[in-house]
């Protein structure tokens, strides 16, 4: 385990009867890092995270979180980490502030409910019953509960699943805030844009194994998929007159003759050549986009599956 690693996992395995959900995975999470675990349903990400949270025993391998063994030092570990579960609930008639005060009493140290309510924009809802909160407010409360013990490490299990895009953006802002405070965040998700936007490093899991691990940029660069250059011109283009630009794998001219998609293995060089040619031909450029392979492309390439399978 490196000196800065707050989470270390070696050959971790988890079986449920005959089903092997996690098949000997290794990874480390550094202090202050947002580490994403990406994968479709049944990939083994929730099992992995719940082992690290001390909620499930592992079948084999080693795991350490903040120096604690999640199997043998559950209570000490739970006192130091914050957890936002995927499927959870609170009593219908509990008030928002009561929930925070109750959970604060379970820990050896805690942040005041007033501070958390203001920070998570729930102050106006402090006296509201849980049953009257909207989906976004419930999720903000779940995050507030995860922060009630001022944890060093936070586990967020699909924190935006089922929420509308506006609330998802709000939650992303909160996660970025947690990162800026120096907390380590382990985030499981099946939203690509979430992983790309929030995570310093991502582990892609499939069928209980880590199939790729690295920064989102590293993973995108490793992809065999080509980048796509989309250009729109003012004048119509003649397909026969288009030159063979370097590193171009494929070109598609749309029916309007003004929209051209160019697939390239070295997009920067190709783009430069296209610009030069357009200028030489006196063709006016109206719009240009460069699209690199997304994590979703990487995922599909590695697993042959869509992320939401």
């Amino acid at each position: 385990m490196s000196t800065d690693a707050v989470i270390s996992v070696q050959q971790l395995r988890k079986s449920y009867d005959k089903l092997e959900a996690v098949k000997g995975i290794d990874f480390q999470v550094q202090a202050g890092e947002v580490f994403g675990i990406l994968g479709p349903n049944g990939a083994g990400k929730t099992s992995t995270v719940e082992i690290l949270e001390g909620l499930r025993p592992r079948t084999g391998g080693d795991a350490q979180v903040l120096g604690y063994d999640p199997d043998r030092q559950k209570q000490q570990l739970k006192d130091r980490i914050g957890v936002c579960l995927q499927a959870t609930n609170l009593p219908a008639k509990i008030r928002t502030q009561e929930a925070l005060d109750l959970f604060a009493s379970f820990y050896s140290r805690s942040v005041s409910s007033e501070t958390l309510l203001k920070r998570l924009q729930l102050w106006d809802k402090r006296a509201a019953f849980y049953e009257t909160l909207s989906g976004g407010q419930k999720q903000r409360l779940a995050l507030a509960l995860a922060l009630v013990n001022d944890p060093q490490v936070l586990f967020l299990d699909e924190p935006t699943t089922g929420l509308d895009p506006q609330i998802r953006l709000e939650i992303h802002g909160l996660i970025e805030q947690m990162k800026s405070e120096g907390r380590t965040v382990v985030l499981t998700t099946h939203y690509i844009e979430e992983a790309e936007r929030l995570c310093d490093r991502v582990a892609i899991m499939d069928e209980g194994k880590i199939v790729a691990l690295g920064t989102p940029r590293e993973l995108q660069q490793k992809s065999r998929s080509q980048s796509r250059i989309q250009i729109v011109t003012a004048q119509a283009l003649d397909k026969a007159a288009l030159p063979q630009w370097p590193d171009v794998v494929d070109m598609v001219l749309e029916d309007d003759k003004r929209s051209l998609d160019v697939y390239s293995s070295r997009p920067a060089r190709t783009l430069f050549e296209i610009m030069k040619w357009l200028d030489q031909q006196g063709i006016t450029l109206e719009d240009v986009h460069l699209k690199r392979p997304t994590l979703e492309d990487v995922f599909v390439e590695l697993t042959g599956k869509q992320l939401r399978d």
């Binding site: 000490q76 957890v83 959870t88 609930n89 009593p91 008639k93 509990i94 005060d101 379970f106």
Partner: protein, 279 residues
């Protein structure tokens, strides 16, 4: 300790915010109290008034224990509320203790109101051994809440839990002597194995015979027997309930573990046999 206090305070608040808790703990037994009391002419008849009080208390304890503790714990597990507690450093003990204290705190005022109403409405004399009565009822309440917790522990879902509760609730209501007098040798034998019978017997012994825990042994023997059975139930119930406690609905329990429900009935089986063989 702060988690115990916080859980007890919150459990009390939540209980008082639920109309069903108020209905089943206070109004439902009170309806029986007035209806049956009027029907059997309890006004001015100490024995009939005592029967009505015993029945109302037994109904209340069964509701508070089996539904209040058992079904509520099951609901909290089914709704993933206990799962949220599981990620914190607390153990099941403060949750179980809070459940006991809340049930007791909610029920005690009902007993005092019931006795006061019986005295002024039905002219039932005040029990000679009020402390023994309150202590015995408290013991009964905690014992039946323990049975409720065991049901919550062994039932894998709400449907199973409801079936188990009904299987216990109705025999205890109708074959314990709480609602109808036990007649005939068969029912008399069956009633000796039913936990609620001891609750009824103990209360009647205090209220009708004027026995207290510290009366002469000959007089208080039946009361001690009943108290002993309830005490054992409480001990077995809390131990097994704590041992089999499950935070998540996904953690299924093996079919054989359901036999623990029988363990809680063991004290009554032993005392029932002892009474039958002792005759």
């Amino acid at each position: 300790m702060k988690s115990y206090i916080a859980l007890i305070k919150l459990d009390l608040k939540l209980a008082l915010r639920l109309r069903t808790v108020i209905f089943f703990n206070y109004l439902f037994p009170m309806i029986f109290f007035f209806t049956i009391g009027t029907f059997i002419g309890a006004k001015g008849d100490a024995k009939a008034a005592t029967t009505v009080v015993t029945m109302s208390v037994t109904l209340g304890i069964l509701g508070n224990g089996l539904f209040g503790a058992g079904i509520r714990a099951l609901q909290e597990r089914e709704m993933n509320i206990l799962r949220r507690y599981k990620v914190t450093p607390i153990t099941p003990t403060p949750l179980l203790v809070a459940s006991m204290v809340t049930g007791f705190t909610i029920f005690l005022p009902y007993i005092l109101v019931l006795l006061t109403l019986s005295h002024f409405w039905y002219q039932m004399p005040w029990p000679h051994h009020m402390l023994s009565l309150v202590a015995f009822i408290s013991l009964g309440l905690i014992a039946f809440r323990s049975i409720g917790l065991i049901i919550a522990s062994v039932a894998n879902n709400m449907q199973e839990g409801t079936i188990l509760v009904q299987l216990l609730y109705f025999p205890m209501l109708f074959m314990s002597g709480a609602t109808f007098p036990i007649r005939g040798p068969v029912f008399s034998v069956i009633s000796k194995f039913i936990p609620a019978s001891y609750l009824v017997k103990g209360m009647q012994s205090i209220m009708l015979n004027g026995t207290g825990f510290f009366s002469a042994w000959h007089d208080s023997q039946e009361l001690w027997q009943a108290a002993g059975a309830l005490l054992l139930t409480m001990a077995v119930g809390l131990t097994v309930g704590g041992k089999l406690f499950r935070w998540e609905k996904e953690e299924k329990i093996k079919g054989t573990a359901k036999l623990w429900v029988l363990a809680v009935m063991l004290p009554f089986a032993v005392i029932g046999l002892w009474q039958i063989l002792g005759k």
